[in-house]
Point group: C2
Chain length 226, copies 2
Amino acid sequence: MNHKDKSPQPSDPFAPARINRVRQISERGHYDRESIFAILDRGLVAHVAFVDGDRPVVMPMAYGRDGDRFFIHGAKKSRAVRATQGFAVSIGVTLVDGLVVARSIFESSMNYRSVVLHGHAMEIDDHNEKLHALRCISEHNMPGRWSEVRAPFDSEVKRTGVLEVAIDAASAKIRRGPPLDDYEEIDLSVWSGVVPMHTVIGQAIADSSVPQDVPVPASLSGISKG
Amino acid sequence: MNHKDKSPQPSDPFAPARINRVRQISERGHYDRESIFAILDRGLVAHVAFVDGDRPVVMPMAYGRDGDRFFIHGAKKSRAVRATQGFAVSIGVTLVDGLVVARSIFESSMNYRSVVLHGHAMEIDDHNEKLHALRCISEHNMPGRWSEVRAPFDSEVKRTGVLEVAIDAASAKIRRGPPLDDYEEIDLSVWSGVVPMHTVIGQAIADSSVPQDVPVPASLSGISKG
């Protein structure tokens, strides 16, 4: 599947199918773009799985998207770029919202929002398309930063392998709310509940090379992940 | 490789080899147990990659460890348990410590601590070994909780598939510190630096079923992830 191929798909890749159907506790499964994109847009790191020889390999990678177009990148010569180009990948993005502390180990869990994408990675060759994808990846983590800094050198773009992942299937799985101790003889003297967790963005630390009169840039206020 | 096979390995699985060598920015690679375990012990969720048919599949899973023994679990009938049992897996655990805001997009990055394990998953059949592994998974996220609640029912243990991952290779990759704008004509009027991020554990929320005189348990004070 070429990254420039915009022809309509015979079926919606976001519909539940064999590869992406949430089977365990199926009511936690979501297949709509709104749910899936909301999670992707809050994540910082994707775990990208591919097959290298006969083994699965997973690697954490930055990412970005533009509508249904999902982008990752790495050094042109890296294994992640070479081994995924043209091949199937599976991509996980998970946000942990807290621990679910039940009155039993079995019912203890986490509250989370996760997405798993199944797709095929295609390297982008066109210089302007690469710039667009790199901009999507940059803006994903730090909206506005792209226009605050110099344009990438051609040599930098050349050394970077940029992949578009054509999404074959996708699903979100979400757990919210209190523990569900679902058995007889619940011991009410045992505490149960939820311990929330969230990501906090700390105060920016200027590099020692930054002159005192250079203000913190506007883009830093747009960071909102986790 | 059977999970009960404690015979010494011909070579240390934590030594750098083809499968686990950190190639891109190789000075970020670490292969010692101390570095690898420190990251594993701070993570909440592992992204477990396996091959299902001819496709890679990645899934977020809770985990625990006991020395070199790494444990994951899922519903006995789940795809993750059935498709990994006896097969190669790759497991990623990543902690994001902040955004690295360089004066160029190319040098912008994240500060992070990540581990990738490569191993083989073997289902644990023995009831007591399963209990031990489940306890390691439980204690990983909430030390002390296991002994605050009732013992698992046999039926719960039976419905749970527990896998030990025999580690074939492992590596950590760590980025710390300020951006490294490494090119000529750096524009000092552009801010650069680091935006730290960390996980905050919120105040525990008791379930509505908890009587007012039941205190928050001691185990909750042991939570320290992210």
